[in-house]
């Protein structure tokens, strides 16, 4: 191995560890939220071990706390997890994993591992980035989940500590970087209106699923506008270019 390659490896490891540590620690917030929403220690840890995709976990415990139907609650969490399929698609091209490795790598296909992997220049660096981020996050996320769940029981009234704000703040932190263009903002605004407006009238967990329809609705309206205006497609593309 050349010295240059060795240096690159350590730089990749450092990047990956940074992301793994920072986000891995937020498992604490999940552990606390899950426990204070009434899930047992075992259930909380099972979620982090088996589901291992933060937004879906927060969504599920929130829906269950509301007393929703388990399948409705799971549906919301599942739809949030669908984005990981598209990460997997990109990663399978970049990592070129042997087929037998893929079932083992799959559990680590999430926001953070994808972000670190995409940022690397070579296949070797990408593989190192994926494995180090995935391993660090998986170990830490599960450890901090356990600590958070145990801690929540010790703390008692978690609301007094403001810990019930950790869940929505996590969603906001994941959402905010996605609001890059007018399309994303329109979808988010419509989803908020649907999610809050339907809450009092529909069964628990259902309003979130209806709010998901904001995505196809906005795309549909946009598609029609594009068809109405002559040359609309070209002007829209140039606007997308400036927004990013």
């Amino acid at each position: 191995m050349t010295p240059a390659a060795a240096k690159a490896d350590s730089a990749v490891v450092r990047d990956a560890l940074g992301v793994g540590f920072a986000v891995g620690l937020s498992g604490f917030a999940f552990g606390v939220t899950s426990a204070s929403n009434g899930l047992s220690l075992l259930q909380t840890c099972a979620l982090s071990l088996l589901v291992f995709t933060g937004a879906s976990q927060f969504a599920l415990v929130g829906a269950l706390a509301g007393g929703g139907n388990p399948l409705t609650a799971a549906a919301g969490a599942f739809f949030l997890g669908v984005r990981n399929a598209f990460y997997g698609l990109r990663l399978s091209q970049l990592l070129q994993l042997p087929r037998w490795v893929r079932p083992f790598a799959a559990q680590w296909v999430i926001d953070e591992t994808t972000a670190v992997t995409l940022a690397q220049p070579t296949r070797r660096a990408r593989r190192i980035g994926f494995v180090v981020t995935g391993l660090t996050l998986y170990v830490l996320w599960n450890l901090t989940t356990l600590l958070g769940a145990v801690g929540a029981e010790a703390i008692g009234d978690t609301d007094a500590w403001g810990l019930d704000a950790a869940g929505p703040a996590t969603f906001l932190a994941l959402l905010a970087p996605m609001l890059r263009t007018a399309t994303e903002r329109a979808v988010a605004a419509l989803a908020v209106v649907l999610g809050l407006g339907l809450l009092p009238v529909l069964p628990n967990g259902v309003p979130v699923l209806v709010a998901a329809l904001a995505a196809p609705l906005v795309l549909f309206v946009q598609g029609r506008r594009k068809d109405d205006v002559p040359g609309g497609s070209a002007s829209r593309n140039s606007q997308e270019g400036t927004d990013r």
Binding site: L60, A77, A160, L163, L172, V192, L199, L219
Partner: protein
């Protein structure tokens, strides 16, 4: 029991979509409309969930200290604070407002 059913369904479903992405041949999911939907679906879900978990208790709409906490998180994001600090800001401000009696 209901909770375990929800956990099992979520775990199997979430693992299945992760694996699906790694296994399907390139090109199957790479249609423009499918990609756009995949990018916008989490935006809609996260926005609705943020709003509900901040402004609702069960099926009732409420306004409490969490709103101030979320505002603090938004400010932290605008100031480019790291992920953990954004959540920390929400927690601390929510606790602070409650302590004052908000």
């Amino acid at each position: 029991m209901n909770i375990w059913i929800a956990i099992a369904v979520t775990a199997v479903g979430c693992y299945a979509v992760k694996l699906l992405g790694l296994l399907v041949p390139v090109g199957v999911l790479e249609k423009p409309l499918v990609k756009k939907m995949a990018a916008l679906l989490p935006v809609a879900l996260l926005a609705a969930l943020t709003a509900q978990q901040t402004f609702a208790e069960g099926q009732e709409l409420i306004l409490d200290a969490k709103a101030a906490g979320l505002l603090a998180a938004a400010v932290a994001f605008v100031l480019r604070a790291p992920f953990l600090l954004i959540i920390g800001a929400a927690v601390i401000v929510t606790a602070g407002v409650r302590a004052i009696g908000g």
